[in-house]
């Protein structure tokens, strides 16, 4: 570490630059055509530059692996999303005949003495907080006439 340069900003900036460069490099590198096709017959500056770039590129992993890596990451993301969704649906969600579908210990059930009081105070009126109405009373209001 260079002493006397304790700034957090430099780390943030280098992080920003590195990630941007790696992203751009990955795009260019996975899409660019083969460089040796652009070489001319006789010696020129262009050939020098291409040779230099090829030397640099030779230090990177082969292009095949970069594309494989991209594909693996993409597919892993897809499978993770699908997997999480399925886990939520099939494992974490309580089945329909489970008691937790109706109520649980966290429920904030409204309290009332009679059905009439429920009708007057809660059934057709907005409460100021989030409250749970007992399902029996709700069913009574909805389906009693049928």
């Amino acid at each position: 570490m260079v002493k006397g340069v304790p700034r957090r900003e430099y780390f943030g900036f280098s992080q920003f630059i590195f990630t941007t460069c790696i992203l751009l490099l990955t795009f260019v590198w996975s899409l660019a055509p083969t460089l040796s096709a652009f070489k001319t017959e006789d010696a020129s500056i262009r050939n020098e530059i291409i040779t230099f770039t090829q030397e640099l590129v030779g230090l990177l992993p082969q292009r095949y692996w970069i594309i494989v890596f991209e594909c693996v990451v993409l597919m892993a993301m897809l499978f993770t999303y699908l997997g999480l969704w399925m886990y939520n649906e099939d494992v974490l969600t309580a089945p329909l005949d489970d008691m937790r579908t109706i109520t649980d210990s966290r429920a904030n059930v409204v309290k009332f003495a009679s059905h009439q009081e429920f009708l007057d105070k809660y059934a057709f009126r907005e409460s100021s907080g989030v409250m749970d109405l007992p399902i029996t009373e709700v069913c009574r209001v909805l389906y009693e006439k049928d």
Partner: protein, 274 residues
Amino acid sequence: MTKPWQRLLWLKQDYPDNYTDPDFLNEVAKLQEALSEPQKTSSYAQVVIDFSLFYHRILNTGLTYVAFTLLHFYHFNPIYFTIGLTSFAFLIAIIYHYTTVQIKSSLIIIFTMLILSPVLKSLSKTTSSDSIWTISCWLTAFYVLSIFLHTDSITSTNILVANVAVLASRLESTTDVFCFLLICIEINILLPYVEQSLLARNYNLTYAITFCLDNLVAYYFVAKCLGWYYVFIFGMSAITFVLVLPRYFIYWQRNYYKSDPYLCRWDAKKPVLD
């Protein structure tokens, strides 16, 4: 005792959803003040100085390859150079630190290196040169990262020795390996240390001379070995790094970075998409 509240949505915390931290209410006035002021930025000159310090450290790492090329491609006899450099290092250690150099531990390290040199020389003998150059390049990249990230740990020295061990198998003799290891340690560990102590004691002119000498050695060598095209490419990248990148840094600081402590703590985090 309950845990202190954290401003993170994904944590399950024992606080109601509409909890407001008392710190927020205390600091909201200062936050308003920070929001109304324009973002503070560092001065260009200071950033240029800091970036040249980074550049200098990277250049020191590059000197390793100068030493290696001299030994490997030009079959340079390293003994006199190593003796000279080591004596110079001892001299500087005595002058600058006004203390007796610990002869015993230095001798132990030198003898360990002597014993290890034949091992290092034969360790990656069977690996092809192409792989050696690639591995060495990546090790150097990790070395530069470790210098700046793991300030107080031994990681960077380990990576340096790994790099030397990888390169050592391409050298001619055990003596060369020993000298190369010693030169690398002196260039990469002692030289930056001396340069930083120069800066710490405000010997700025001496530091500037060292900086220029380092540049001179590196670029003269590149010109001799690879030609002026490469000097142009390296020089332009260095100038971009030292003079142009600071401008972009200040732009970044103004538009993306939040240096104000109240702002970092309480601002609404917005994703930056451009």
